[in-house]
């Protein structure tokens, strides 16, 4: 087995229990240079992915802290822990940080950045320097948002609805908006980089329909990032302009239209939901294939479903505005279109389920996260249909029902997928294995804690509990206490991985190139990969997830095994 070069399919799985890889000092992307400067000025996509991982983890912890404070306040009906104004800042900062600085960059900027070049057999992304710039933009945006936080916070909700945000709020609205605006450009540039990379840098033989589904889903995501984010930038810029110059854009007293802002905002922010969940779909496809050791059933349907979701996602923004004074006809059209988007999402879930049929199913930790995702996303997606249903939405709009729904998608979906992906590719990123049993245990704790936190919120919402309330009538307390109790379990479940993943960096067992014995180009190079990814350009002659045509000997890594698909 070569130490730095391409390890072909014939010897993938070098770390299988039978033939452990000898620990040898080898140059990889992590140890090639170790100075802080070498990290801050790196243009290696893998190092930038690690920079992102560190940055968004900080934001995740901060956003999670606000979530804890919110749940603590809501344990009692009165606003007794903090003042209502402080509470309003908590939920605003929780939303702003989690959405703009954690969820949007999460899977694309970390796993996507690390894996797209590896998966398509490229040396790097198409624009390595722009990639670094994207990270700095997120950093600068985040620092500005933190400055807004320190400078008094912001209380508009992450939605910045006008005219409250432009005329009435006396908090740090503009600073926060500038932060989100700059972070938006990070997202645009990342999307652009991925699109160009997938188009132009695929290895010989890596045709579009041989791409891993993760790449397909990130490609669809990138299209949304590129086309929708500028509209958010425009909307936020207009808010800032109206605040500064008192122009009548959204302020009705001087001729503006407050509902126009909602159209602009949701024209980005509904597609943004798909920026957050589509990459999750991609991760789940990889996990299901690897732990079923089987090609995803209906590969092209799953790939095309990603594109369909990305496109139809642009046509449904008005379903956030059924009670906004939008015309009834618009309400009917947006409701109808919203049901269409359920079709590609359901196709994915059905196909993952079908893949498990007659598979070789392993219950490793990443697979548990994938199953958690499937359960929570199914419930989250179906409750989304409640909200598309006009007669129901009029009642549950702006209540805890919608809070529960989008947390099932964003946390139960996107965060579960992110954690599953992080565990699955952790050996590739760090070269170390985490402790399996504790990772499995955590997947359970998160699943239980999550459901206990958010399921009661569906009931609360239908009972009429409005969102963004610092205090509430006492009859809602039982469900709120359940939710807060669940949040503490969820908090523990999310904290433990931080500990054991960090622990594994030093004490974890060394992972070989392919600890899962998965197929895919990223597993055919050492862990951690060398800076150049592959010592020679791989030539792909096999289809995606081609487990079946490789004999068990090949997967066990016997040196004499013959592989008909060896690269030329």
């Amino acid at each position: 087995m070569t130490t730095t070069g391409l390890t072909g399919p014939a010897d993938r799985g070098g770390a299988s229990p039978e033939i452990p890889a000898p620990p040898r000092r080898r140059e990889d992307y992590l140890n090639v240079q170790t100075s802080v400067r070498s990290w801050l000025l790196t243009v290696d996509h893998k190092r930038i992915a690690v920079l992102y991982l560190v940055l968004i983890s900080v934001f995740f912890v901060l956003g999670g802290l606000y979530a804890m404070l919110i749940r603590l306040e809501l344990a009692t009906p009165a606003a007794d822990l903090v003042e209502p104004e402080t509470y309003n800042k908590f939920f605003t900062l929780h939303g702003v940080i989690m959405i703009f600085f954690f969820l949007v960059p999460s899977i694309p900027a970390t796993l996507g950045n690390f894996l797209i070049p590896l998966m398509i057999g490229a040396r790097d992304l198409a624009f390595p320097r722009i990639n670094l710039l994207s990270w700095y933009l997120l950093l600068i945006g985040g620092v500005i948002a933190l400055a807004a936080l320190i400078g008094g916070g912001v209380d508009t909700g992450w939605t910045f609805y006008t005219p409250y945000s432009t005329v009435f709020s006396r908090q740090q609205v503009v600073l926060t908006i500038v932060g989100a605006f700059i972070a938006g450009f990070s997202s645009i540039l990342t999307g652009l980089n991925f699109i160009v990379t997938v188009h132009s840098m695929r290895a010989p033989g890596m045709t579009w329909f041989r791409l891993p589904l993760f790449v397909w889903s990130l490609y669809a995501t990138s299209i949304v990032q590129l086309l929708a984010t500028p509209v958010l930038a425009i909307a936020l810029a207009l808010v800032a302009i109206e605040r500064f110059f008192n122009l009548g854009i959204f302020n009705p007293d001087i001729g503006g239209d407050p509902v126009l802002f909602q159209h602009l905002f949701w024209f980005y922010s509904h597609p943004a939901v798909y920026i957050m969940i589509l990459p999750g779909f991609g991760v789940i496809s990889e996990l299901v294939a690897a732990f079923c050791r089987k090609r995803i059933f209906g590969y092209s349907a799953v790939a095309m479903a990603s594109l369909a979701i990305a496109l139809v996602g642009f046509l449904v923004w008005g379903h956030h505005m059924f009670t906004s004074s939008q015309s009834a006809y618009a309400g009917l059209v947006f409701s109808f279109l919203s049901f269409l988007i359920a079709v590609p999402s359901a196709i994915k879930v059905f196909n993952w389920t079908a893949t498990t049929w007659r598979a070789s199913v392993s219950f490793r930790a990443p697979m548990l996260y994938a199953w958690g995702f499937m359960g929570l996303f199914t419930l989250g997606g179906l409750t989304g249909l409640f909200l598309s249903t006009l007669g129901i939405d009029i009642h549950v709009h702006d209540t805890y029902f919608i809070v529960a729904h989008f947390h099932y998608i964003m946390v139960g979906g996107a965060v579960m997928a992110y954690l599953g992906g992080l565990h699955y590719w952790w050996p590739k990123i760090t070269g170390r294995m985490y402790t399996e049993w504790i990772a499995r245990f955590c997947a359970f704790v998160i699943f239980i804690g999550f459901n206990l936190t958010f399921f009661p919120q569906f009931l609360l919402g239908y009972l009429g509990m409005p969102r963004r309330y610092a205090s509430y009538p006492p009859e809602f307390q039982v469900l709120h206490v359940m939710s807060s109790a669940g949040a503490s379990i969820l908090g523990v479940g999310l904290f433990i991985p931080v500990v054991y993943l960090l622990w594994s960096l030093r004490y974890g067992e060394r992972a070989g190139p392919n600890p899962w014995r998965a197929v895919g180009l990223e597993w055919m190079t050492p862990s951690p990969p060398p800076t150049e990814n592959f010592s020679q350009t791989p030539v792909v002659t096999w289809e995606a997830y081609e487990y079946s045509s490789l004999t068990p000997e090949v997967k066990l890594g016997r040196p004499d095994a013959h592989d008909t698909h060896a690269p030329a």
């Binding site: 004074s325 079709v343 199914t378 409640f386 963004r468």
Partner: protein, 343 residues
């Protein structure tokens, strides 16, 4: 509203609430069946096809099937369409008030709801309505966007500054119900709550009679109509107010518009934006000159003349629509009226 035991559905105070709950039950049934189906399939396959040895041969791939894909694309489509049509039917019912509504003006402001009954009685953070009578709320906002939410009636509508929105409900149970502001509106958003009291019609009459009487909005509007000088022009160089409300007007560009509350509001504040054909755009704007309450009064005055013969000079309002009595018939509301008319 007292604290009750554990419950899954809020109180129902209108027939529509029951219809919404029925659809909700259907949605949860479908959701439970499919979530359970996916869960059971995954659990069954996962256990049945679990990997027994790490080196077991890889399974044979399952050939894709376009027919199967199409079949399970149809499942969400068919159920989705059933949700859509059922939900749309309810929405249209929520959208179109019946005739003979009791019209109440409600103004949202940070952080209270102010209501004015046709007789002139005013309330803050409470609303009294008679049992069985359809009530139409004409919502306005003095500052930011609010949302008037009545969980017991399963309905809500945003109060948007700069325009009128309407919602309606028909109480069928006496009691006291929550009013919430559902759209985040600033610091004391969660304090912007009130109580809706549904009373027997005779109790409502008694309550109205006992409440401190205010000037009926139509009468206040007539006074404003004179003091602001509207009366000088309207009926001479400008159209008369008689019979104007809900009539179809042809504008200078040939388009037509129904003179609903939003049209009247726009004509007062942006007076030259939609001038009726045949008149000069000479009316000054009253933006900033009248408060939300005064605007509501002016419009109430114009509404009170809906049955006056068109063409007459703008007359005083017909003698006080009996405090608490049934206001006269309103013409059926045209579609599009809930959202606030043509823009």
């Amino acid at each position: 509203m007292t604290a009750r035991g554990f419950q899954l559905l809020p109180e129902r105070a209108s027939a529509l609430a029951g219809r919404v709950d029925a659809l909700y039950a259907y949605l949860w049934t479908v959701t439970a069946v499919f979530t359970l189906l996916i869960f059971l399939l995954v659990a069954y396959f996962g256990i049945k096809y679990r990997r027994r040895r790490e080196d077991e041969p890889a399974p044979r791939p399952t050939a894709g099937s376009v027919r199967l894909e199409l079949f399970w694309a149809m499942i969400p489509l068919v159920f989705g369409m059933s949700f859509f049509f059922w939900g749309a039917r309810l929405y249209i019912a929520q959208y179109q008030p019946p005739d003979q509504t009791l019209d109440i003006h409600v103004i949202g402001k940070q952080w209270m709801w102010k209501a004015q009954h046709p007789s002139g009685v005013r309330e803050i953070n409470s609303l009294h309505v008679p049992l069985g009578r359809p009530v139409r709320l004409i919502l306005a906002s003095q500052d930011v966007i609010h949302s008037f939410y009545l969980p017991a009636f399963r309905t809500k509508m945003d109060a948007v500054p700069g325009r009128y929105t309407t919602m309606w409900f028909q109480p069928d149970r006496v009691g006291e119900y929550h009013i919430f502001c559902a759209e985040y509106c600033g610091t004391l958003h969660s304090g912007m709550r009130g109580a809706l009291t549904v009373m027997e019609p005779e109790d409502y009459e008694a309550w109205l009679a006992g409440a401190p009487a205010g000037e009926p909005p139509a009468a206040a509007g007539w006074r404003l109509f004179q003091s602001l000088g509207c009366v000088t022009c309207h009926a001479a160089q400008a159209p008369s107010m008689a019979g104007l409300y809900m009539s179809e007007q042809t504008l200078a560009d040939g388009s037509t518009v129904v003179a609903d509350e939003n049209y009247l509001r726009r004509s007062i504040l942006d007076s030259t934006s939609q001038v009726v054909a045949g008149y000069q755009p000479i009316m000054p704007s009253y933006r900033g000159q009248v408060t939300e309450e005064q605007l509501a009064a002016l419009i109430a005055y114009i509404v009170s003349l809906r049955d006056a013969r068109a063409g007459e000079p703008s007359p005083p309002p017909p003698a006080g629509p009996d405090p608490g009595g049934l206001p006269p018939l309103r013409p059926p509301a045209p579609t599009g009226q809930r959202e606030g008319g043509a823009r």
